[in-house]
């Protein structure tokens, strides 16, 4: 054992430590994604795209046969839902006109919501079981930056960009343990912090923390981004409350959220590169 360690072990471990230190330093001193990581990801991005395309095609064809009947039923249900939503839309248009008139009367700035987006395909999902990340096909060449929000076409929040290279980027999804963002319960306006939790990540859930003790969250409440601080856009849908709990000290509440987005079924997303929101 001793001979083994002195012969090879110390040498190899020293080499590993040296390499680890170099990688850490390169990573620490890079304001964006470091050069080595960018090179490896840039080279492998086309292969990942090809793999994702083939897997999508195979998956779509396999699902087509078994989901045909279910899709027919869903189609009927969606037709009914569209009829209901059209009625709601007419009411919303009337409300919007009224809102504009009242804003003019009170001399308020006009509401504005302008998101500048970049479309991206998901070219890889993290397979390590210990994180929930997606690799996207758009990178810094398209103006994607670390900290940008990633959403679906419906405005559901998917996650945040944590690494960006020239033709790729990595998005930590809302259930990842590194995810954290200011959030608000839409019905009550109570604010908190939506954050990933390792135990809940396995169930595809996240937490809404730091709610006031007098907040009144209810199961089913919609939770959106708060936009406080102006770092992220407001009103992006994070998810719905599934459970409401009280902290061990009894002073604060937290809620377990079900994300609005179905991460497993995602194929295309949109990166919010810039935004202007006037409430």
């Amino acid at each position: 054992m001793k001979r083994f360690l002195t012969k090879h072990g110390i040498l190899v471990l020293s080499a590993a430590t040296a390499v680890a230190v170099v990688l850490s330093l390169v990573s620490f001193f890079s304001s964006n994604t470091d050069l080595l990581t960018n090179i490896v990801h840039t080279i492998s991005a086309p292969f990942r795209s090809a793999s994702a395309a083939v897997s999508e095609w195979v998956g779509d064809n396999m699902r087509f046969a078994e989901e045909f009947d279910a899709l027919k039923e869903e189609n009927e249900a969606l037709k009914l839902e569209i009829a209901k939503m059209e009625e709601q839309l007419r009411q919303a248009e009337a409300d919007s006109d009224e809102n504009q008139r009242l804003r003019k009367l009170l001399d308020l700035r006009e509401q504005q919501r302008d998101l500048k987006m970049e479309s991206a395909r998901i070219i890889q999902r993290d397979a390590s079981n210990w994180a929930s990340t997606l690799t996207l096909s758009a990178g810094t060449d398209f103006g994607v930056e670390i900290g940008d929000c990633v959403i679906t076409e419906s405005g559901y929040l998917v996650g945040i960009i944590t690494e960006a290279g020239s033709n790729w980027s990595t998005c930590n999804t809302v259930i990842d343990t590194d995810f954290s963002m200011g959030a608000m319960i839409f019905r009550t306006g109570d604010v908190g912090v939506a954050a990933g939790d390792f135990n809940l990540m396995q169930e595809g859930r996240l937490q809404l923390n730091y709610l006031d003790a007098d907040a009144a969250p209810q199961v089913g409440d919609l939770v959106v981004t708060s936009g406080l601080g102006g770092y992220y856009p407001s009103q992006l849908v994070i998810g719905y409350i599934r459970e409401v709990m009280t902290d061990d000290d009894g002073l604060a509440q937290y809620a377990v959220l079900r994300p609005a987005v179905e991460i497993d079924g995602l194929q295309q997303v949109f990166v919010v590169k810039d935004f202007t929101v006037v409430e």
Binding site: S51, S55, S128, Q202
Partner: protein
């Protein structure tokens, strides 16, 4: 061993590893059993270390770990570089002293690599998540273990074809 044989041997090892990683990317990433996706990387390190001993095995693990850190989402900077090298050292130590190379040796080495990788991951988790983390690591290991029946013959073939006794 002549230098050209050494180069040839590691080119073949690299090709075999690339092939097995394609199986991970093209197939295993889309499979979920018992709530987890099979994760081959520690198994590749374990099997190669069981064949290649206490210097070449860990050096392979070192290079492989660097590539994993650069090409995948690593839980911490240089995590795989350090963990895979340490795991390969432990696996090679065990393989050299306790077993003769073969399936049983590869199985034991693989187990050691998964245990050390899991310990590394648990060290990065908060203590509140250790129980869930340990259970996840166990499921990941058990779900991936049957794939040793695929990985082992590939590396045994490479080892047998590229090893010349002097």
């Amino acid at each position: 061993m002549p230098k050209r044989y050494v180069v040839f041997k590691w080119v073949i090892y690299a090709a075999a590893t690339f092939l097995l990683l394609q199986v991970q990317t093209w197939a295993l990433d889309y499979v979920e059993l018992w709530g987890v996706t099979p994760f081959l990387a520690p198994m590749l390190v374990g099997v190669v270390s069981s064949y290649e001993g206490s210097l070449a095995g860990p050096l392979f693990a070192l290079v492989f770990g660097v590539l994993c850190d650069l090409g995948t989402v690593s839980p911490a900077s240089a995590f795989f570089t350090f963990i895979f090298t340490a795991a390969a050292l432990a696996a090679a130590l065990m393989a050299e002293h306790l077993f003769s190379p073969g399936f049983l040796c590869s199985l034991a080495s693989t187990t050691v690599c998964y245990v050390i990788t899991a310990l590394g991951r648990l060290a990065l988790l908060g203590s509140g998540a250790w129980e869930a983390g340990a259970f996840l690591a166990l499921r990941e290991f058990l779900v991936t273990l049957p794939l040793l029946l695929v990985v082992f013959p590939v590396y045994r073939w490479v080892h047998n074809k590229t090893t010349i006794e002097y």
